[in-house]
């Protein structure tokens, strides 16, 4: 047991591993389930599809799955910022498409340098986010309506820019490489080690500071177990991806280039949400806007920022998508947004606001992608895919609502 501090009030860091595990189950029971349901369904679905189709668990399909889910992952992480403040951005998908429409016109037609055109794409994202934020936070129009309007409007704008059925090829090899090329084996290991060392350093820094203030720390072994699991899973993934997975004579191996981008955004975004004043205020606005206002938080500013971040990250999703397809279409991003919302909710981000993390959305995106990928491999008609994804979304939203009720009932 920990040494008793001057007070009888605990911090949740005391006790042996057994106490910590017990605390965790108490939290789960009271409705704070986090990513638990999505992780369980991840394991369940993997087992299910692996038993139904021998191709599902191959290394080629594993790499495919990662690349397939990257775009959705980005979009659902983007949506987390607005869902956390109990708003929604139905235009995130078409925003990603629209920014890419600008990008491709500027690069292919106007002959701009592709780096400048990408920057222009982000400017489009910034403007769209500011526009939504202004109407939601300052004017008071429900975000559902504003973004539904934009969802329709931007489809028109995309058509106007690219022409009816317009499709432009991405001619920039650097961009196409993001989703289609892989890193050398050593770079994959380097990436993994950097993230593991960063995680370790941050945790040790926290422990050191807590110790200096005489605050109890969680058992060290817990941190090592956590890091051990991360190392095991990470190393497993890198090792599998580094093996040649080609079915032809041309070797394909290595971690897809998109991974370091996606993980960096996940890492930095999580730090911002967990450790900065902005992140704290975002959660506060999502939990109780009135309390946030009375605490002196500029609620409108936080709301604006959330929409701007969402739209800018949607642009990243647009880049991923364009890179994968190798082209920009007039309908790009249209069908993506609901899957993005579904991924976030399935991952455990609450639609009621204030609860959820970026990692939840990432796991949720993998779940949705597995359903998509697995059902595709089974050769079932596309209709089944929609039915299953829709069913999972409703199930996840129900779990969210019920756990919220339960959390309220333990008052």
């Amino acid at each position: 047991m920990s040494t008793t501090t001057a007070t009888t009030i605990s911090s949740g860091h005391e006790g042996t591993i057994r106490d910590q595990v017990k605390n965790y189950f108490v939290r789960v029971k009271s409705g704070e389930m986090g990513a638990l349901p999505s992780v369980i369904s991840l394991i369940f679905l993997t087992g299910l599809f692996a038993s139904l189709n021998p191709y599902f668990l191959t290394k080629l399909n594993f790499a495919n799955l990662l690349v397939q889910s990257a775009t959705l992952m980005m979009l659902s992480m983007a949506l987390v910022f607005v869902i956390l403040i109990a708003e929604i951005d139905l235009s995130a998908g078409v925003t990603s498409g629209l920014s890419m429409a600008f990008f491709i016109i500027l690069t292919n037609k106007a002959g701009w340098d592709w780096r400048v055109s990408i920057l222009a794409g982000f400017v489009v994202g910034f403007l769209v986010g500011s526009f939504i934020g202004f109407f939601v936070a300052k004017v008071g129009v429900p975000s559902f309506v504003v973004t539904l309007g934009l969802f329709l409007g931007f489809q028109g704008l995309q058509l106007a820019l690219l022409g009816d059925g317009g499709i432009y090829r991405v001619e920039v090899p650097e961009l196409k490489a993001i989703m289609n090329d892989n890193m050398p084996a050593w770079a994959g290991w380097l990436m993994l080690s950097i993230f593991l060392v960063l995680t370790l350093l941050i945790n040790f820094y926290d422990r050191m500071r807590r110790k200096k203030s005489n605050l109890p720390n969680r058992p060290l072994i817990l941190l090592f177990i956590k890091l051990g699991v991360m190392t095991g899973l990470g190393a497993g993934c890198v090792a599998i991806l580094n093996v040649n997975r080609s079915l032809s004579s041309v070797a394909i191996g290595g971690v897809p280039i998109v991974m370091p981008f996606a993980i960096t955004i996940l890492f930095v975004g999580t730090l911002i949400l967990d450790r900065t004043r902005f992140g704290r205020h975002l959660y506060a606005v999502g939990g109780n806007p009135e309390a946030a206002r009375r605490a002196g938080i500029k609620v409108a500013k936080i709301r604006m920022s959330a929409f701007i971040i969402c739209s800018m990250l949607a642009v990243v999703a647009g880049i991923f998508n364009a890179s994968r397809i190798g082209a920009v279409e007039a309908t790009a991003g249209k069908s993506m947004v609901l899957s993005g919302v579904a991924a976030a909710v399935v991952g455990g981000v609450s639609l009621f606001g204030g609860r959820g993390r970026l990692a939840h959305a990432a796991v949720g995106a993998v779940v949705i992608s597995i359903i998509d990928n697995g059902l595709g491999l089974l050769g079932l008609p596309a209709g089944i895919n929609f039915l299953v994804t829709g069913g999972v979304l409703i199930l996840a939203a129900t779990v969210d609502a019920v756990s919220r009720k339960r959390a309220g009932a333990t008052k």
Partner: protein
């Protein structure tokens, strides 16, 4: 003891043709609990909103620690050391106790939140108030009872080094045991040298914890009483208007 922490002189507030506050005089002293009682519509809320800075008075003098001040915004009031604990508490259920206590005034360590010192100070503050009902400072507020939430809200004002704490119906939604705990906390708060104003409909609570009682009746302050020198029946008389006192 001599200079009141807050003093109102001839404060007036109207909404169109309705004169809600008609020349109010009021004082609250450090180390004392002052009850503000009155029936619905007597003007209690309007009086408090003026002190909180969210709705300024039309005219009259407001003195804080003997100096005349103008309370035009909640930020201004908070900067002076006036904290209001509202009836609906205004806590974020999705955040834990430490996060709520420091909400809007987070301590920073460079670009990142200084969780360590916030947790330390929150724990010290709760311990200083001899609060034992709270299990962990990292509990989410959603898992707290009404009394515990009230405790957190009061502790937050202590943490902010408030000189004047205004409590709006602190025991309205609480059971017997929790009411007792909160009233004890209010007493300790005043004993630590803070001026406390309680708005309450529950005269039993008022007599249990308050030193002074001020009665509002239809926008006028009809009585300033010492709790030890009056009784239940008298106060009810002033509240309902069947009694009046010229000295007010």
């Amino acid at each position: 003891m001599d200079t009141p922490v807050i003093e109102l002189q001839n404060v007036v507030k109207s909404f169109g043709p309705v004169d809600v506050l008609q020349g109010i005089n009021f004082k609250a002293y450090a180390g004392r609990v002052t009850a503000l009682v009155g029936d619905n519509g007597a003007g209690k809320s309007t009086l408090i909103k003026g002190l909180a800075g969210v709705q300024s008075y039309d005219s009259g003098i407001v003195k804080f620690d003997g100096n005349e001040v103008h309370l035009n915004s909640a930020r201004q009031a908070a900067a002076l050391g006036i904290e209001v604990v509202y009836q609906d508490l205004a806590l974020c259920e999705n955040l834990d106790i430490v996060q709520n206590m420091f909400l809007g005034r987070e301590e920073m360590n460079g670009f990142t939140l200084d969780e360590t010192s916030m947790e330390y100070e929150a724990t010290q503050t709760l311990a200083g108030l001899k609060i034992r009902t709270v299990k962990s400072v990292r509990q989410k507020v959603a898992s707290l009872s009404g009394g515990q939430r009230q405790t957190v809200a009061i502790a937050r004002s202590v943490l902010r080094k408030a000189k004047l704490v205004i409590l709006d119906e602190p025991t309205a939604a609480l059971g017997v045991a929790q009411t007792e705990q909160v009233l004890n906390l209010v007493r300790r708060l005043a004993d630590s040298g803070v001026a406390v104003i309680i708005i309450s409909h529950n005269l039993q609570d008022v007599f249990k914890v308050c030193d002074d009682i001020s009665v509002l009746y239809l926008g006028k302050m009809v009585a300033h009483l010492k709790a030890t020198e009056t009784n239940h029946l008298d106060v009810v008389g002033y509240i309902t208007g069947t009694k009046s006192m010229e000295q007010a």
